[in-house]
């Protein structure tokens, strides 16, 4: 070893590159995870985009039971209910469900609903044509609104999948959207 420090530096540079690369990889896992979940529907994630309904053959031989649950996150004062807790639909048939949200508090609050499908493998077969979860809701003090959600079940859904549950959790995101609160308040 004529110049040991030079030899060391060659390896050190490579190792430090690995360290920095892996630190970046940790953060790269975040978008990778999103892409993976959106593609596969793993983890009960549904798409955040509205689909355009094309007239299709309704599979009248099958009935899928879809159940709806509403949930309020900690610290969110709204009342949040679904009018129809359970529907039976044929794959391909469009159905509309109404959700009611009320802000009983004395201030304007911005709400964001996040859906989750269980079992998670059913998530990619739930196609939403219209959903209040695609955007944020701003409710002034005491205001109440009906929020529609139109969907159909993809006829590709496997034969053994006859029942799934869609849960909406409502979060208070006012702190992240001060301008929305001011414009209405």
């Amino acid at each position: 070893m004529a110049n040991p420090q030079g030899q060391h530096n060659k390896i050190i540079i490579k190792l430090v590159a690995v360290v920095l690369g892996m630190f970046g990889f940790g953060f790269a896992l975040v978008p990778l995870y999103d892409v993976f979940c959106d593609l596969t529907g793993l983890n009960g994630r549904t798409s955040n985009k509205a689909v355009v309904y094309e007239v299709m053959d309704i599979d009248e031989s099958r009935l899928i039971t879809v159940e709806f649950i509403t949930h309020i996150s900690k610290g969110m004062p709204w009342q949040f209910e679904v009018q129809t807790q359970q529907v039976k639909v044929h794959p391909g048939q469009v159905e509309q469900i109404n959700f009611i949200a009320k802000n009983p508090s004395g201030r304007t609050i911005v709400g964001q609903a996040v859906p989750s499908v269980s079992p998670g493998t059913a998530a990619i077969y739930l196609n939403k044509i219209e959903c209040f979860c695609f955007e944020q809701q701003v409710l002034t003090a005491g205001q109440q609104i009906a929020m529609p959600m139109r969907f159909y079940v993809d006829p590709q859904i496997p034969k053994d999948m006859t029942y799934f549950t869609v849960q909406y959790t409502l979060y208070d995101v006012s702190a992240d959207n001060p301008t929305l609160v001011q414009n209405r308040g």
Partner: protein
């Protein structure tokens, strides 16, 4: 690596004439603060690890005292959670990992015939940030709101939405621990790549060097991911990002994926050096070369590679699709093949050897038996449908304490007893050592074995109170815990005696069957060794 015959060129007994010895070793605190000597830094790491072991152990005593009987007697549930969290963090990052790094510092240069580690100044730095990291973590326990209470795995949203502001201290201390480990790992890799003595080819390297090399690569691959995970927790909590917050489009389950992508290789970081230690001790006291040296190297490499594709077996109950559960179950079970190769190789090494049962060998044998028990409970946990029953119960606690306490920590104790006479030049107090071994062996099984039963019966982990039917077993577990804790004070007494250089002088070989470069330098090992590299034939 079996028949190392070496030729010293100016090392060994003659090296007192060397130039470097004209510089006197600094005395007092400055020697330890400024040292760049691999032996001094190894000693610092080992003492630091032992102090942390006793600190984390004291927290375990609080946990076991509270669980001695059902109901809340001694501590508040919030403080109990801080104890389980900080106990885990200290034992993983403060005790096991620094102890292995300390052993690497002492032994890797001596085993490959190098004068020191490749990067001695960075070596000093990577040690000295550790006391600061752990001071920050421990200080948070005494601050308003208390220390981290979300488990050592710091799952979001427990560590984000539901934690207190001291979480920032936890994050920074983990950053510092990670930086220390990464620097230590880089140092080990550069040393092994560039500083092997002439003739020390890859397949002649002692297995401790091999296992540490692979461990170092695991460290630089996954510690940065941990640093990323704690950084995301920090920004989610304090800077309004939503990595793990569903309201902002994030996902708390993703936290578990990122954490266990680090966490599973991490458990092999804590066991691969142990395999190297056992592979050094068993041949010595069997007076036979290690059976299947090459297969040991390949088994270690395959365990390290497989460790990257099994992380989700910690998450079977999060609602994965059946295909993913099958994949992670089978990949996990696959790891038992190379691990089994190792166990069989150690047993085959002992087969028809002339065995003797000195203290390091006692710990090594206990390791082989008890680590295998921990491995088998791991196989049970790998079976997805069964894991739904075992998940988050004391069965999991029993499993990882068998592999970490009777696995990693027993191997560290075996290593200390094996190489301590080389470090001090004096034989340790064998009577005390045997007391330490037998007390630890019996108490550790009273402590951890019944945890299997209460776990299978459904007792959840991380709780300060439990249902009445678990009372009898928990009493036994706590008594075993207190006995195991007290047994470590015997070890402390023995180490203090050894550091005061009490005991009979030993030869340079120390143990009759010991082979390798470190046994050819005098005992105690001189401050500087192999300044002229030995030639390994």
């Amino acid at each position: 690596m079996t028949s190392l015959s070496t030729e010293h060129q100016g090392s060994g007994h003659d090296d007192h004439h060397d130039d470097h010895h004209e510089h006197a070793i600094p005395k007092g605190i400055k020697r330890w603060l400024y040292t760049t000597n691999h032996k001094d830094i190894g000693t610092l790491y080992l003492w630091f690890a032992f102090i942390m072991f006793l600190t984390g152990g004291a927290m375990a005593m609080v946990i076991r005292a509270e669980l001695f009987q059902p109901g809340l007697q001694i501590v508040e549930p919030g403080f109990f959670n801080q104890m389980t969290t900080v106990h885990g963090l200290i034992m993983v990052f403060g005790a096991v990992m620094p102890a292995f790094t300390g052993l690497a510092n002492w032994l890797v240069p001596m085993m490959i015939g190098a004068p020191d580690m490749a990067l001695p100044r960075m070596n000093n730095w990577s040690f000295w940030i550790l006391p600061f990291a752990f001071s920050i973590l421990l200080a948070s326990l005494f601050m308003e709101g208390g220390g981290p209470a979300f488990g050592w795995t710091f799952y979001a949203p427990l560590s984000t939405t539901y934690s207190n502001d001291n979480t920032a201290l936890f994050v920074f201390s983990v950053h510092m621990m990670g930086a220390s480990s990464i620097m230590g790992a880089i140092n080990v890799i550069v040393t092994i790549f560039n500083m092997r003595a002439p003739g020390m080819t890859w397949m002649k390297m002692p297995l401790f060097v091999w296992t540490w090399l692979i461990t170092a690569f695991l460290l630089i691959a996954v510690m940065p991911v941990l640093a990323g995970a704690v950084t995301m927790v920090l920004t989610d909590k304090f800077f309004g990002t939503s990595f793990f917050d569903a309201a902002g489009g994030g996902d708390p389950v993703m936290f578990q994926h990122i954490f266990w992508f680090f966490g599973h290789p991490e458990v092999y970081i804590m066991i691969l050096p142990a395999f190297g230690i056992i592979s050094a001790i068993v041949p010595t006291f069997s007076r036979k070369p290690l059976f299947g040296y090459a297969s040991m190297v390949y088994a270690t490499t395959s365990i390290a590679l497989l460790s990257f594709i099994v992380w989700a077996h910690h998450m079977f109950t999060t609602g994965m699709p059946v295909f993913a559960e099958m994949f992670f179950m089978l990949a996990t079970m696959l790891i038992s093949v190379p691990t089994g190769v190792k166990i069989f190789n150690w047993v085959a090494t002992m087969w028809r050897g002339s065995l003797s049962f000195e203290v390091p060998m006692l710990f090594a044998l206990a390791f082989i038996v008890l680590f295998t028990i921990g491995g088998l409970s791991g196989l049970m946990l790998a079976i997805t449908p069964l894991d739904f029953q075992y998940h988050d119960t004391y069965f999991v606690v029993a499993h990882f304490h068998y592999v970490l306490v009777t696995g990693a920590i027993f191997s560290i104790m075996a290593a200390v007893y094996y190489w301590l006479p080389k470090w001090t030049g004096k034989m340790f107090d064998i009577t005390l050592a045997k007391w330490h071994f037998w007390c630890s062996l019996i108490s550790v099984n009273v402590l951890f074995f019944p945890m299997h039963f209460v776990g299978l019966a459904g007792m959840p982990r991380r709780i300060p109170d439990y249902a009445l039917q678990f009372a009898d077993f928990n009493k036994w577990i706590s008594l075993g815990g207190f006995a195991f804790g007290l047994s470590q004070l015997i070890f402390l007494a023995l180490l203090i005696k050894a550091c005061r250089k009490q005991g009979d002088p030993v030869s340079s070989q120390v143990w009759e069957g010991a082979e390798g470069l470190e046994w050819e330098i005098p005992s105690p090992a001189p401050y500087h060794t192999f300044e002229t590299p030995p030639v390994v034939k």
